[in-house]
Amino acid sequence: MATNTQLPPHIEKMRSRVGVGFKKVHNPVGVYGARTFESLGYDNSLNMDDFKNNLEIQVSFCDPDRVVFDVVHVDAPIANAIRRILLVEVPSIAVETVYVHSNNSIMHDEMLAHRLGLIPLRIDPRSFTVWKKGDEVTTQNTVKFSLKVRCEMNKSAPRDDEAPPDVLYKGHKVYSGDMKYVPMPGQSFAVPPAPVHDDIVLAKLGPGQDIHIEMNATKNIGKEHAKWSPVSTASYRLLPEVTITKEARGQLAMGLKNLCPANVFDIEDDHAVVRRPRDCTMCRECIRETPFSDHVELTRKRDHFIFDVESTGVMPADSLVTQALNVLVEKCDMVLEGLDTAIKRSSGGDSDVDFTAAD
């Protein structure tokens, strides 16, 4: 194909930017066709070497709960695949089977079971296998927990009916921290499995009520049930760009600076300048009315993604991103394998596909 030349500025802008108008978003759909700009001498195809040279990743925040990073020169389908995999295809471990021996609290068994399922458990699922209904329960696919609590009158409480139940009763609230890991024979962990938070209220009991539950936690993915999703949120946004198209000075500059709730603008030598475009929320206030709308243009950069991944705490957030990318690699491998068998099958003659027909 033709060697790369620059596209004319107005077309380059359509290709590489998403325009944010007051009432409308311009060019929301990316143009990815390899030959789309062929007649202009512009090669829009994917070249793996270029991809590797151009790719930029910057981590702007990283702790076990949250990672914020920029991925530049990657297109939406790839970024979206990463996001979607984070949400529903990175495995984790959650309570799946609940055996209720006794529950005479006001919370129904099924409601309680549902709440137990949603408790994030700090267990690394990577050494586990997936348990499916009907499978044998082994140390490799299950972690057992038990919950045994009972509420009593607090004998030493003041004789005051107005006192809150926490004072009147012992064990009034049932917390996730009351879930106890029950080791199966031959099962051992460096860090004993436990809920990520031990202060989640599961149920409230009155005096004389008790809950006795045994449960099996298993490994699966968020596609099966949202309780296995390892992230609180995994999202991205495109990098905002705020451009001053016509010089704004004096009163106008001051007005613009004060207008912006995200404090994007600064004033330098009596001119309004864009100082913190990353903070722009695209609230469109600056393009809502004249005279400001004549001076400002809002766009987003189509190939600059700002990812924000928050873990539920089951695993460090950065490790989740790594696992998501590994899942994508596995998916490709699986399809590659399937493709090879499919090609063999059809060339083996047991199908009606005629491979001699081409050309």
Binding site: A34, L46, A357
Partner: protein, 110 residues
Amino acid sequence: MNQDHPSNPKVEIIGADQRSQTFVLRNEDHTLGNALRYVLIKNPDVKFCGYSIPHPSENIMNVRVETYGKPAAELFKKALLDLKDMAQFINTRFGLEVESYKAMNNETEA
């Protein structure tokens, strides 16, 4: 989930003409579908590529590939390899960046 039956192949190829074929993938969704379509459409040898999930309760996805002459299966395979390569490369780079971020921040704390 009876559609998961092991006798169902992961990939089936439909179409007599090698240059225009439909790849029927099982247990895949928009995650892989859109990414694959993107990589294929970025290949100048591909004349047309689109994907569809005909019914939400069937776990089937069709990827249609029509080429300017090369066998569609070959380009489909190349797309998968490219996508895999991209994922691996992003992964390595991401790992390095996280490491250097952690190293930097531990330094400033110390």
